[in-house]
């Protein structure tokens, strides 16, 4: 997958995408942009990527998205931002496997689990008791539904929206922060199944990369000079 160096403050804006082309404005290691990269990959949608430095943002980015955040999608004159909005938009507008349930209560269940997870996961520094409380809801949901993924037999929007954080948890899941098999058998099974998915493999990075980038922010880490 071709990747590009990140545009920074003072850079010239790239040409807008050609008609019909889907462009994703992203940052290689951002977990929120990762959510949308997974959904695009899962639905087999071709797109081009423009990476930006999220610490020294290019000025032109603010005229596309006033919040100047990744992910931002550009498609046929439309601009879409906010990862969960991007994902729902992509799922509804593009053909292919549907990632969001149609049934209203099932749809609500996904929204509520997302809220529980967001409330308990604690973005920057994982707070273990809170995170484990969030995990217990995920564990119970998988157990009750008797499903390998939150989306059912295959991953859905919720699987893809929580996955980026799990992939990064690996950097801290050693020693006493490792998830106990006895307490989280379903979540651990889910994690293994997700690691096996082609779209997860395409979009992911290894633990060493995440560890390095977490310690020293570098959107271009790993790219040839």
């Amino acid at each position: 997958m071709p990747t590009q160096k990140a545009y920074k403050t003072g850079s010239t804006a790239p040409e807008p995408p050609a008609p019909g082309v889907v462009r994703l404005i992203s940052m290689r290691f951002c977990p929120f942009a990762h959510r949308t990269r997974l959904v695009l990959a899962a639905k087999g949608i071709e797109y081009e990527t423009v990476n930006v430095c999220t610490k020294n943002k290019p000025e032109w980015f603010f005229s596309i998205n006033p919040l100047a955040k990744v992910p931002t999608l550009q498609h046929d004159g439309k601009v879409v931002y906010e990862s969960l909005v991007c994902n729902e938009y992509v799922d509804r507008v593009f053909p292919g496997r549907k990632l969001l349930p149609e049934e209203p209560l099932e749809k609500a269940r996904i929204g509520m689990l997302q809220a529980i997870w967001d409330a308990k996961r604690n973005g920057k520094t994982p707070s273990r008791p809170l995170r484990n409380e969030g995990l217990s809801f995920l564990e119970k949901d998988l157990a009750t539904g008797d499903r390998p993924f939150f989306g059912g037999e295959q991953p859905g929007l919720l699987d893809y929206s929580i996955w980026p954080f799990f992939e990064r948890f690996e950097t801290t899941l050693h020693g006493d922060l490792k998830l106990p098999q006895a307490e989280f058998p379903k979540v651990l099974g889910w994690k293994a199944a997700m690691f096996d998915r082609p779209e997860v493999k395409t979009c992911g990075f290894d633990t060493a990369t995440y560890t390095s980038v977490a310690a020293n922010y570098d959107p271009d880490f790993g790219l040839a000079a």
Binding site: P66, Y81, P104, A108, A115
Partner: protein, 271 residues
């Protein structure tokens, strides 16, 4: 002596709930239920119940939808500083309002509740059916959330001090973004829709604050000013409206660390 009953909580959220082991015949009142209270019996079959708090802007979003869609429901208010244990265990593990309960199913998160109401009660749908329009409205709400709503309490403090100089630039920027997007009488078109009602609770509070900042002046946001006046005429808005004095009373008590959830209720009020 209490009758011990078990209520089978149906649906996917039964995983988060244990059945009530104890009930009392609870009469719905406006006064909030607190820690130590007994779990009220569930609403009757097919009946909708809303768990709310009279001054919560997020719960107001759902109250507005219920009013706009003419959906019959009962309300139980929750004391958000001393939450009943049953509320966390049986209704919403995140412990927030609004929560909708019907036939053993719980739905929480205001935007999830509102979208669910449009699915479950499809007449007079407020959520846009077109995915592009829906996405457009979601993004407007996100900009408002991150630039304006996040500064709500700073705004209140600034208005009380009569000095807006320290208010974040994002506040005005966010309002301008909404101003430019408002090209019809309402965000929903010729009639209010989801975005209008999801935004309204904060604008209701803004519109009643005396000495509004320049950013909220008619000069700076003429379209939003006219929209606020139109919204105040809407039956759903009127049904859920609270006067500024009560918001002010509540916010002052909240800032002092002891929220007065009963503000405005008569001394002998039980309804």
């Amino acid at each position: 002596m209490f009758t011990i009953r078990r209520y089978r909580v149906l649906g996917s959220f039964s995983v988060f709930c244990r059945p009530c082991s104890q009930t009392v015949a609870a009469m719905p009142t406006e006064r909030p239920m607190k820690r130590g209270s007994a779990c009220p019996p569930p609403p009757g079959p097919g009946k909708l119940r809303l768990y709310s708090m009279r001054f919560c802007p997020y719960a107001q979003r759902t109250r507005l939808f219920l009013a706009a869609k003419g959906i019959e429901h009962e309300t139980i208010n929750i004391h958000l500083k001393q939450k009943p244990k049953w509320f966390l265990l049986e209704k919403n593990p995140v412990g927030k309002v609004p929560v909708l309960e019907k036939d053993g199913e719980m739905v929480f998160e205001s935007l999830v509740c509102n979208e669910y109401l449009d699915h479950a009660y499809p007449e007079h749908c407020l959520t846009p059916r077109d995915p592009v329009e829906k996405m457009r409205q979601s993004m407007l709400l996100s900009v408002f959330d991150q630039m304006v709503m996040s500064h709500y309490y700073s705004y209140l403090r600034a208005s009380q001090a009569g000095d807006y100089s320290a208010l974040s630039k994002k506040f005005g920027f966010g309002l301008q973004h909404l101003e430019k997007a408002l090209t019809q009488p309402f965000f929903g078109g010729s009639q209010p829709g989801a975005l209008d009602y999801n935004l309204w609770p904060w604008f209701e509070r803004f519109s009643t604050i005396p000495n509004r900042s320049e950013e909220l002046s008619e000069r700076r946001v003429p379209r939003l000013t006219a929209w606020m006046e139109r919204m105040l005429e809407q039956p759903a808005v009127k049904a859920c409206h609270m006067p500024y004095e009560l918001y002010s009373q509540f916010v002052t008590s909240f800032a002092a660390g002891d929220p007065d959830y009963d503000a405005g209720l008569g001394r002998w009020s039980s309804l």
